[in-house]
């Protein structure tokens, strides 16, 4: 299983990757913003995309829109501080499959990842 992790915070990417490793996922590609993430997305196939919302250059919502414009059905989980209902609706309308609000407990992220990681 190959996962793309997009967040402008390297620390947050490491936290997320630690959780991915804990559920057995080691094939992970990182990107620091939506533009870099989309370059990676077009360069290789992914089984899951995890992305932040507020990022420089190209934000997570634009990144998700870019992915869906390609016709891809890849599951996309947005991990963001944007927790208001109106924002969640915007993200779902853009094509987000799943949503996790920062701050999160490790167990919450792992429970979300379990839905996408093959046993």
């Amino acid at each position: 299983m190959k996962v793309l992790v997009v967040d402008d915070s390297g620390v947050m990417r490491k936290i997320i990757i630690r959780s991915l490793n804990a559920v057995g996922v080691t094939d992970v590609v990182e990107a620091g913003d939506g533009e870099e993430g989309f370059v990676q997305f077009q360069a290789q196939p992914f089984d899951l995309v995890l992305t932040d919302w507020n990022m420089p250059v190209r934000n997570g919502l634009e990144f998700v829109t870019d992915i869906r414009r390609t016709g891809s059905k890849v599951p996309i989980m947005m991990i963001t501080t944007e927790g208001q209902r109106s924002q969640v609706i915007l993200a779902i309308q853009a094509g987000v499959t799943d949503y996790l609000v920062k701050p999160f407990e490790k167990e919450s992220l792992r429970a979300k990842l379990d839905k996408y990681v093959p046993v």
Partner: protein, 158 residues
Amino acid sequence: MSTIPLTPAVSQLPTPFIESTRAVFSAMLGAELGLTDTCRCRRFHSPFDVSGVIGFSGSIKGMLVIGMDKPVAFAIAEELLGYRPTDIDAEVFDMVGELANMIGGNAKERMGDANVALGLPTVVSGQSYNIVFHSDNQLYLLCFETPWGPISVEFGLK
């Protein structure tokens, strides 16, 4: 720092920031924070080694600053990343900025105003610097005790 004790009339204003700071440390670090002091102040003068700054715009405008000393930052980084930095490097900057981002984002959600946007965090290192808030801002200082030492969360909003 020139400070004014909180009166009951203004004591509710910092609540979203107290709750958001506690929520971030509880969820991400499994740490319960003690609130050791709250006060209104006239200007921000950091006594700490490193500070994360994030701006609010929209219907609420202002800035939030989280400050901590190096040993506290290193201990938090160790909890989050699994290893302890030895200096204030790019990773520590990133971590302090992300803490500011999460505390600000969580406070924004608790304030329940959809017309507020957060900027991207900035991190400052070195002691004895001043941050000048807009003169219209109401400035508050929250002091917390973490399991690793003290931190402060300062915010000025209008």
